[in-house]
């Protein structure tokens, strides 16, 4: 791009005497940028699309890894104490002799797997994929921007997550193994875990967990700043707030959640790190006795403080996990029902309301700590109020389908499956919101089922939908439809076989952290459909392993299609939003000329038009204006 053209995009502002001249210099720098070597282009890139794809691969890798940890645990739950056939022999060579002697899982290793499954899935799987990968790749394109506002910060945020992930992975191989106090790392359990003889003061599971976490938080904060600044500053001409695709809104709110909720947890992490390496007592009460010996600590700390700091992040975090998924589903539903999204404004206001309210519900994870009835009453009320916007969003999605001419391609299959799955997860949250019901259900498999319905067949299906949907934009080719369906149907069935019985197990009283899957628990003789709580583990585990197999078609399809998928044009789904006006794959700088938006994001099936979709950059014709009084005036900035 030459300097004269750039003068149009940077009108000299009154306070900058030399903008034009300086721009020329900048552009000379940019020219060198175009001739970057392979390393700068594909590894240390500052291009949002490359970074998005890097995040995508990282997220997918960790999802698979975290899922593998769980597949191992499922063996121990279904067949407690039995040697794991075949792979059981190899695992001790990878994870260390103490983890699975003779193929039998030790309790410590089981705990490590559980803690790391949760941590990895949430912070290294879903967040990098849903927020960072889709956000990076799609948001700038959808708002008609050339890149993110701060490309170097963007690169830094990817490398921070890379380091954080590496630290987390390394922690499996230090003496004592990876962190084992749950993804919540409740103190004082976590503060005394992995310490003492046989453990390195720094290179031990829990300390590495904390250090890795600081990197992950840094990454999320940098990413969040970048997203918000990009959305505020780099929207294309005419792309007003109420013309933003819903996906952009969802990412916008998600970024705010990360920005404001993560730092208090970071404070908590720093304090827990101090407890471990500087022998402070932020979270250690006075008079703590471990293994019959009084701890040599000052005391005066508060275990409850950690829970508050943790859940102050972790409740907003659950919305971080779901909102990008909702955004993806919204795009795909509108596109494949060939109808405008129903209730766009209420969707936007709902997502904003969720954003605000999610900061005042955190203590619903702490009913059993005896906070007192006043505090509980407050958090019960806010928790019930926050379910209202969630229900509005889900209802609007369902209504959007009504009367549409639906195309059931693979993205749409995943997106429609999201709806009931999210519905089940959300509705089963309501009993948990009541103190009295939760006293019974807390820490049982019921809670596990509740949030997995939202995150696994919910968010992860949304992510699959997004991958199938935007794949053509990234590669210029589509993924194979048939193998996509082979991926979808078994996954849907398995997800439900895995998680539905967990509600029953939970209601039978099965605790979420039992190492033997409840085998040793003989209090309840209750059976559901002929199986006791413990016996239900077996079908669940088999479904989990089959679901693992069901991902193979996806993996092959994904890599195969990059090179050999069907070539398609720039807008294969006949969609309306701006990313489909860019070439596939978009070049550096994304658009050939700066796009201008003239209309809302979902102008499907406009009356009196030849095609059933009208892209955001198509000017409003005078005739159309009289036909459709509802069309807003184009706003140009």
């Amino acid at each position: 791009m030459d300097a004269s053209a750039s003068l149009e995009t940077h009108p000299p502002s009154p306070d900058s005497g030399a903008t034009g001249g300086q721009d020329r210099h900048q552009h000379q720098g940019e020219h060198e940028h175009h001739e970057l070597g392979w390393w700068r282009r594909y590894i240390f890139s500052t291009d949002h699309k490359v970074i998005g794809i890097q995040y995508g691969f990282t997220g997918l890798f960790f999802l698979l890894f975290g899922f593998s940890l769980m597949m191992l645990m499922r063996w121990q739950l279904a067949y407690p104490g039995q040697a794991l056939p075949v792979i059981g022999k190899f695992l001790p060579h990878i994870f260390g002799a103490g983890t699975m002697p003779d193929g039998k899982m030790t309790p410590d290793f089981y705990n490590s797997l559980g803690a790391m499954h949760g941590t990895i899935m949430v912070f290294l799987g879903i967040v990098p994929l849903a927020f960072a990968a889709f956000g990076n790749f799609v948001v700038p394109l959808q708002i008609g921007a050339p890149d993110m506002a701060f490309p170097k910060v963007n690169m830094a945020s990817y490398w921070a997550v890379f380091v954080g992930g590496t630290v987390m992975l390394t922690s499996f191989f230090v003496p004592g193994g990876a962190a084992k106090s749950g993804w919540t790392s409740y103190v004082p359990l976590a503060a005394i875990a992995d310490s003492g003889p046989g453990h390195n003061p720094v290179f031990n599971g829990q300390t590495l967990w904390l250090i890795g976490f600081i990197f992950l938080i840094t990454s999320s904060l940098l990413g969040a700043i970048n997203f918000i600044a990009t959305i505020i500053q780099l929207r294309a001409k005419g792309l007003t707030w109420m013309r933003l695709p819903f996906f952009v809104w969802a990412q916008f709110v998600t970024a705010f959640l990360l920005l404001l909720a993560f730092p208090p947890l970071e404070a908590g992490i720093i304090m827990q790190l101090m407890d471990r390496v500087a022998a402070t007592s932020f979270f250690m009460p006075a008079g703590l006795v471990v293994n019959g010996a009084a701890m040599h600590i000052s005391g005066g700390g508060s275990p409850l403080l950690w829970q508050h700091l943790f859940w102050f992040l972790a409740h907003p975090e659950v919305y971080v996990l779901i909102l990008p998924g909702m955004g993806i589903v919204a795009e795909i539903l509108a596109n494949n029902s060939r109808k405008p999204l129903w209730g766009y404004k209420s969707l936007v206001f709902s997502v904003l309301t969720i954003g605000f309210l999610s900061f005042v519900v955190w203590a619903h994870h702490m009913w059993l700590t005896g906070m007192g009835s006043t505090v509980s009453a407050f958090f019960q009320t806010t928790t019930l109020i926050i379910s209202i916007p969630s229900v509005i969003i889900l209802s609007a999605f369902f209504i959007s389908l009504w009367g549409g001419s639906i195309r059931f391609n693979v993205p749409m299959l995943f997106a429609t499956a999201f709806l009931p799955m999210f519905g089940i997860g959300g509705l089963t949250g309501i009993p948990l919101a009541f103190n009295s019901a939760d006293l019974y259900l807390h820490d049982t498999y019921y809670v596990i089922a509740h949030f997995h319905y939202i995150v696994a067949p919910g968010t992860i299906f949304a992510l699959f939908a997004g991958i199938y949907y935007w794949f053509p934009k990234a590669t210029g080719r589509t993924m194979n439809e048939f193998w996509g369906k082979v991926h979808f149907w078994p996954s849907l069935v398995c997800m439900n076989v895995i998680f539905l019985p967990m509600f029953l197990q939970g209601m039978l009283g099965m605790h979420r952290r039992w190492y033997d899957g409840g085998q040793g628990w003989t209090l309840s003789g209750d059976h559901v459909w002929g199986l006791s709580g413990f016996q239900w583990n077996t079908p669940i585990s088999w479904a989990a392993w089959i679901m693992g197999l069901a991902q193979i078609p996806f993996i092959i399809n994904f890599f195969w299609s990059i090179k050999h998928g069907k070539k398609v044009n720039d807008n294969p789904w006949e969609a309306t939003t701006l990313e489909w006006t860019a070439p596939s794959p978009p070049p550096h700088g994304n658009f050939i000329t700066a796009p201008v938006a003239y209309r809302g994001p979902y102008e499907y099936s406009l009356p009196g038009r030849e095609r059933d979709f009208t892209m955001q950059n198509e000017p409003v014709e005078p005739a159309e204006r009289t036909r459709r009084k509802a069309v807003e005036q184009p706003v140009l900035v």
Partner: protein, 291 residues
């Protein structure tokens, strides 16, 4: 297409990109220190009577450091204003002043304040032995005056080996004024000026001691939060100083020559950060030094 609004402002928001970025960053920083300060409040409210120490920090030195930071906040604004008026030399001097202020602040913390704490000793007395050390603690006097109980004897540890050597049976401490003369009404409140340990040696039987440490983070919830919060604040000061040095070096002059507004924007953004760091200190100072 190139990224717009890197230097000029976007008409409808009235901002350039980095300015949006820095405000967002500061919002997250507010939450970070907010988390730490809430922890401070939580721990302090939870502390049993007598377990939250007072008057252990050097107030005049803290006051001086506060003044230095505030001064640097002024100089950085002046530096920015000079850039806006395109007077690079003056900018350069004001920037230097800012950097020096930051360096002095850090030096005082790291060379004077922290090490002085590391040299100070405190021994918490077991409840059943409090009576025995009444001459150092003056708890009867404290109770009469309605003061919180005194549970700790502090001062300069003469026999440092006592901390590690189990054969040494007692600590020999050059007592702090409050333990040297506990019933003196002048000791009821913390001193404003720092008073060093006296010559009076107190002997404390190890048997009677609940916990004895130097004033390290592990000493108490108070010092744990003090070192953590001032440490994190210090890291922020250090970061700010490093960035200011970069803006003061000849490399930035090149930026200035290309487009003075570019450098002015950078200084503005970092100045905002610097004000924030200053603001945090304005909370830290009363919370730890005065209250």
């Amino acid at each position: 297409m190139e990224i717009p609004y890197t230097i000029s402002t976007r008409p409808d928001t009235g901002l350039w990109n980095a300015k949006v970025g820095i405000w967002l960053f500061l919002a997250s920083e507010v939450m970070l220190f907010g988390g730490l300060f809430s922890a401070y409040i939580f721990l302090r409210l939870d502390a049993p009577p007598g377990m939250w120490p007072h008057g252990l920090l050097n107030v005049p030195v803290g006051t001086m450091n506060t003044a230095i930071l505030i001064l640097s906040s002024v100089t950085v604004v002046l530096a920015w204003a000079e850039l806006k008026m395109r007077r690079y030399r003056r900018y350069w001097w004001y920037m230097l002043a800012t950097i020096l202020c930051g360096v002095i602040f850090l030096t005082v913390k790291l060379v004077y304040e922290w090490p002085q704490k590391f040299e100070h000793f405190g021994a918490y007395i077991k409840p059943q032995a409090l009576e025995k050390y009444e001459q150092y603690l003056g708890n009867k006097h404290a109770a009469e005056k309605g003061l919180p109980p005194r549970l700790e004897i502090t001062g300069h540890l003469h026999n440092r080996e006592a901390l590690t050597n189990p054969n040494i049976k007692e600590y020999e401490v050059a007592l702090d004024p409050v333990n040297a003369d506990p019933t003196n009404p002048a000791m009821d409140r913390p001193h404003f000026l720092y008073v060093p340990p006296t010559d009076k040696i107190g002997k404390i039987d190890k048997e009677d001691v609940e916990r004895a440490t130097m004033f390290l983070p592990t000493h108490s919830a108070y010092f744990a939060s003090y070192f953590t919060i001032t440490g994190l604040h210090g890291l922020h000061v250090l970061g700010g100083v490093l960035v200011f040095i970069y803006m003061w070096l000849p490399v930035s002059k090149k930026v200035y020559q290309r487009n003075p507004e570019h450098l002015a924007n950078r200084v503005e953004v970092c100045g905002l950060f610097w004000h924030f760091v200053d603001l945090i200190w304005i909370f830290v100072f009363p919370l730890f030094y005065l209250l």
